[in-house]
Symmetry: C2
Subunit: 423 residues, 2 copies
C-alpha cells in the first residue's frame, strides 16, 4: 500500500464512522424532518441552476477531452429540463409514504405476547454508480427518506456535477436538522477509495452498485459487505398454444418496441409450434415494419422473410436494441426449461388462456418478475406502485425486482409483553 | 493450486451443477412430495439407529484420539434420546405450513393489473457448520421443506455421522420422487472444498454458516456468494425509571438464568439511577443467590456486596455463563445510546410503564429483536411462532432474528393481466 492509499483509507474510515453515527440519528428522524430536507433540496436545486450547470460544464469539457462517446456525454449533461426532472423526482420521493415504523403481521401468541415485524432503516448504504449525475439525487433522496445514512461514490467523469449536487443536499439536510454525515460523497476519484469502502463492514451495511456488468462483478468479488446487484434483463415473452392471439400480438410488439434501451424490454420470443403458423407470419411482418431485426430458429425462418439465422448466443443476449430472437418450441415444459436456462432472471411473460399453465408458469419460472397476459415493460417500480425505485434487483435475497423505499429498510422483530417470562 | 485442489474443485463444480438442476425441480415439487420425503427420513432414522450409532462411534473414537474436549465430545454424541429428538424435529418440520407459493399484498393497479409477491425457493443453499450432527438433519430438512436444494458441509469431526444421516435423507428424497441432487453432503473433509464452494456463485445462491466467530469471519471474507451470519448475542435488559419493579425482577432473573449458554440470554443489565436504590439491592442479592457473578459499575457496587468491578470490556462481552454486567445510567437516552453502541444487535428488552418510552425504545434500538416488558429468552423461532429455525440472524438484509422457513424463501413479483400493454 502506498502512502496515498493509507491516507485514502483513513479518509474513508472517518467517513464510515461519521455515517454510522449519523445512521443512529437518521433512524429516529421524524418523517416531517426527512421530508423537509427533501423539499429544501428541491428549492436549492432550483435556486442554484447556474452553479449546477457551470460545474456540469467542467465535467462535459473534460469528458470531451478524454474522448467520451456522444452517448456518454449526453448521459452526463444536465440541462434545465433535466434539472426540472431532478426536482420533480425529489418532490415525488418526499410525497411517498414513509416505510419506517410500519409493523407487519402483528399477532398475539398463546402466552399473550404480541409479536410483529417493524420496518427499520438498514443503517448505512453505499451507492457506487457511473456517469448519470441524477443518480446522486435519486439514490441519495431514497436512502434518506428510508431513514438511512448514505455514502455516494459516483463516476469520476461526473465528479464536479456530483459534488455540487451532493453539497446542496447536505446543506438541506443540515438546515432540516438531519445529522451531519447523513449524506456524504466520496471526495476523491481515486479507485482505492472504492477498495477501502468495500472492506468497511463495521460501518457500512449494504452496497448497491449501479453500472455495467464489469463494475458490478468487480464489486461483488471485492466486497465483504452484502451487495444487491442490478444486472441485465434478457426478458422472454412466451406465446402458448392456448394464447389469445389477438392479445399476444400487441403484448409482443409492446414488450419489444415500446422502448428498447431498457432492461424490461423483451429480447426473445418463444412461440408454441401449435400456433406458430397462425401467429408468427403476421407478428414477424409487423415487427419488421417497426424496424425490428428478427433472429429466428429454422422453423421461424420458414414463416417469415428476411429472418437472420439465430446462433446459440442469441438466446442469452440482451440486445437493448430493435432486435428480437424468435424460437418455435414444442411444449409448455420446453418453454419453461428454456426460459429458466437462458433468461437473466429479470422479467418473463406468458400469453395463455389456460388456467393451469398460467399458474404453473408463475410457480416454475425462477425470475424476479413473472407476468401473465401483459407486457414485460410493466416491471418497474412506478408501474408496480412502489413509487421511485433505486433499481431493479436481479438478486434473490432481500430485494428482488423493482427496489423501492421498502426494500431500503429491513424488518426487526418487536415483542410487546406484560411481564412474561419463559418457563 | 495442487492437483488435489483441482480435483476437489471439479468435484465441487459437479455438485454445484447438480444442485442447480435439482433446485428447478424442487421449486416445482408439491408440498405432499416434500412432506413424504421428510416422513420417510423419520422412518429411516428410526430403522437405522444402530448404523447411525456405529458411524457416530467412529467419530467419537477419533475425536477422543484427537483430544477433543469433553464438551465437544458430548455435542458430537448421538444417543437414542438424541436420535428421537432428530426424528421429532423432522416430523415437526413436515407439519409446518409450506411457504412456497404464498402470495403477499396482492392489489389491483388502476390499469387492472393485479400485482403481488409470491414466496419462492431461493434455489441452492450451502450450509457450513461445526460439530453437532443433528444440524445435518435440521438444516437439510428446513431447506428441502422450503423447496431449496441444499449442499451440506459439516465439520470433519462429525464426518461419519453426517455421512450416514445425509445418505439416509438422500434415499428418502429419491423414494419420494424428489430430484437427485436435492440434498448433497460434501464428500471430503478437505478445507479446499469450502474455498471452492464459496466461489461457485453460478450454482449457489446463499451460504449460511453455523459455528464460531472465526469460522463465520473466514467465510464472509472469502465468499462471493451472499452470506447470512448468525453471530453472538450480547443481550441487554434495561430497567427504566418508570418500570414496574415487580415485573422487572422476574424479567431480569429469567433473562439471565433460565438458560445461560444460549445467545438470547441477557449479559448486561442497565438500571435507571432513579430506581437503582429501590431495585438493585434486592435484585443483586437474588442473582447472587442463584449463583450469578455480578460485574458492576461503581454505583452498582455501592448497592450490593461482593460485586466484581466491571472493566470496559464487560459491556461488550457475551459470557454464556452465570455472569451479568450491571450498570446504573442516568437517562433513557443514555440507555438507548449505550445499548446501540455495545450490544451485538441480537435482542434487548426494556421494562417500563411509560408509553412514549416503550415506543421510542422499539424505534431507536437497532437490534434484530426488541422486547418490551418480557424476557430476552423469548427471541427464538419456536417462541415467535415460526416453528423450527435454521438460526438467529444478526444480519440486517433478507433475514433478521429467528430465521424459519419463510426466510429460506424469497419473494418474486407476480403480475396477472388481461392483455395490458404499456402506453
Amino acid at each position: 500500500m502506498t502512502v496515498a492509499d493509507v491516507s485514502i483509507e483513513q479518509t474513508m474510515t472517518a467517513m464510515g464512522r461519521q455515517s454510522r453515527q449519523a445512521s443512529r440519528a437518521m433512524a429516529a428522524a421524524s418523517p416531517a424532518a426527512k421530508n423537509h430536507a427533501l423539499e429544501l433540496m428541491a428549492v436549492a436545486f432550483d435556486a442554484n441552476r447556474n452553479r449546477i450547470k457551470a460545474e456540469n460544464a467542467i465535467d462535459l469539457e473534460k469528458g470531451e477531452a478524454n474522448g467520451l462517446t456522444p452517448a456518454m456525454i449526453d448521459r452526463l449533461r444536465l440541462t434545465d429540463a433535466r434539472i426540472d426532472g431532478i426536482i420533480t423526482a425529489v418532490r415525488e420521493i418526499a410525497a411517498l409514504p414513509d416505510p419506517v415504523g410500519e409493523i407487519e403481521n402483528m399477532a398475539t401468541r398463546p402466552n399473550g405476547l404480541r409479536i410483529g415485524r417493524m420496518r427499520a432503516p438498514i443503517g448505512v448504504i453505499g451507492i457506487i454508480y457511473e456517469s448519470r449525475p441524477n443518480v446522486t439525487v435519486d439514490a441519495g433522496a431514497l436512502c434518506l427518506k428510508s431513514g438511512n445514512a448514505v455514502i455516494l461514490r459516483g463516476g469520476s467523469e461526473a465528479f464536479h456535477s456530483n459534488t455540487v449536487l451532493a453539497g446542496l443536499m447536505l446543506e438541506a439536510c443540515r438546515e432540516a436538522g438531519l445529522p451531519n454525515g447523513a449524506l456524504q460523497l466520496v471526495p476523491t476519484t481515486d479507485r482505492a477509495a472504492v477498495g477501502a469502502l468495500l472492506k468497511m463492514d463495521e460501518y457500512v451495511d449494504l452496497i448497491i452498485p449501479r453500472g455495467g456488468k464489469g463494475l458490478i462483478q468487480r464489486i461483488v468479488n471485492d466486497s465483504i459487505i452484502p451487495v444487491i446487484k442490478h444486472l441485465d434483463g434478457n426478458c422472454f415473452v412466451y406465446v402458448d398454444e392456448h394464447a389469445d392471439l389477438e392479445k399476444a400480438l400487441p403484448i409482443v410488439i409492446n414488450s419489444k418496441t415500446q422502448r428498447t434501451g431498457v432492461c424490461n424490454a423483451a429480447e426473445t420470443l418463444l412461440v408454441h409450434s401449435a400456433v406458430a403458423k397462425s401467429f408468427l407470419p403476421g407478428c414477424l411482418a409487423e415487427l419488421q415494419n417497426l424496424g425490428v431485426e428478427v433472429r429466428g430458429c429454422e422453423r421461424t425462418a420458414e414463416l417469415g422473410s428476411s429472418i437472420v439465422p439465430a446462433t446459440p448466443g442469441d438466446w442469452d443476449e440482451e440486445y437493448l436494441a430493435l432486435i428480437l430472437a424468435v424460437k418455435v418450441i414444442d411444449s409448455f415444459d420446453e418453454a419453461v426449461e428454456f426460459i429458466n436456462a437462458h433468461s437473466s432472471g429479470h422479467t418473463e411473460s406468458i400469453v395463455t388462456r389456460d388456467y393451469d399453465r398460467s399458474n404453473e408458469f408463475l410457480r416454475r419460472i425462477g425470475s424476479a418478475c413473472v407476468h401473465v397476459n401483459c407486457s414485460t415493460r410493466f416491471s418497474d417500480g412506478g408501474e408496480y406502485g412502489l413509487g421511485a425505485e433505486i433499481g431493479i434487483s436481479t438478486d434473490k435475497l432481500h430485494a428482488r425486482g423493482p427496489m423501492g423505499l421498502r426494500e431500503l429498510t429491513c424488518a426487526k422483530w418487536v415483542v410487546l409483553g406484560e411481564g412474561q417470562i419463559r418457563g
